[in-house]
Symmetry: C2
Subunit: 194 residues, 2 copies
Amino acid sequence: MVLRADAAEKRQHIVETAYGLFKRVGFHATGIDRIISEAAVAKMTMYRHFPSKDGLIVEVLDWRAGRFERQLDGLAEAATTPQRKIATIFDWYGRWFERPNFHGCLFQHALAEFGDPEHPVFKAVARQKDGLKRRMQEILEARMPAAQAESTASALFMLIEGATLLAQMGQGKAAIENARAAAERILAVRKALR
Amino acid sequence: MVLRADAAEKRQHIVETAYGLFKRVGFHATGIDRIISEAAVAKMTMYRHFPSKDGLIVEVLDWRAGRFERQLDGLAEAATTPQRKIATIFDWYGRWFERPNFHGCLFQHALAEFGDPEHPVFKAVARQKDGLKRRMQEILEARMPAAQAESTASALFMLIEGATLLAQMGQGKAAIENARAAAERILAVRKALR
DNA sequence: CCTATATGAGACAGACCTGTCTCACTTATA
DNA sequence: TATAAGTGAGACAGGTCTGTCTCATATAGG
């Protein structure tokens, strides 16, 4: 029972179309009818690929998280020092904030609409956020003890999430600059304490 | 044409009931029927007090923002130095995170569900967030030049918003500690540069 | 007492929601 | 060519949504 190539492509097309709508309109505010209409797909095609709307949301989030991780992996490869690896993450956010179709962080939005910690969407958000925090923590562990790396990564994470919020309110440019400056100070002090 | 005392109380009761539901359930996910049922109020009573659901949401946010500002005002009065005034804000968040009915920041959630900058709800969110950032900026201006106060306030704001996000994911205690430590370092460096 | 105001209860409209189902059609593979 | 998977189109069910409307009732002030 071979899955036809078309089927996989169509499935991915639904994911990306839903992604665009969820991002622009919101999760609850985006109806199934609108997703299938914009994707030019029959309703049953969508329901054959995904168990429910919530299931589709989780897949969209996981796909988006994977793309994010791959992009950061690529940037980290080119960076030589831990300090520069961290900088490339801030670079990524700085570029993201300036995109014309930037609408804030989809994971922050998902957390707002699905506040139940037992809900699969909540868990998908937690996976992505923990992934980013852990990524920075592991980078920092090359330069400081694990406990220090954790608290420092936590601070950098908070700066980035706060900057994303400011960016959604039209202050992205100043936010990423201030976040970067604060991060450099935190890291400089950490280094001095070593 | 005297407004009866009952009417004003009932109006406020609707606001606070809606607040509890929006906070726990979300904005789009909370229906009018549920609000009036929980408030034990007729539907027309609600629609006589508020022009629409969106109008009610804005009033809920403005009321919540006012309560927040008044609480911070009270804490700031007791604090002697700018440094301590800032600390009382972090204290407030630390206590908030530990509350059993903490469900994250209602304004962050509103921003997630109403992403259009022209929407009245978006503007209400921007007012609250700008208010917090400006509050910290004005405190810091007693100790540093305005430009430095702005970038420092921005960094503190980002730490707080990021900590709120972590708190919603069950890491409130560590988050506020790390945010406070990062803030102290940023302020210490700022002071040294003075 | 009498009148204006506020309310409770609930029907109602019109739209939208998720999810299921049928049926005809296309297309890849064996 | 024959078979089966995948699809498009759309009806359909059952529920929910916001917002309007009517009507009976309660109450406060003149």
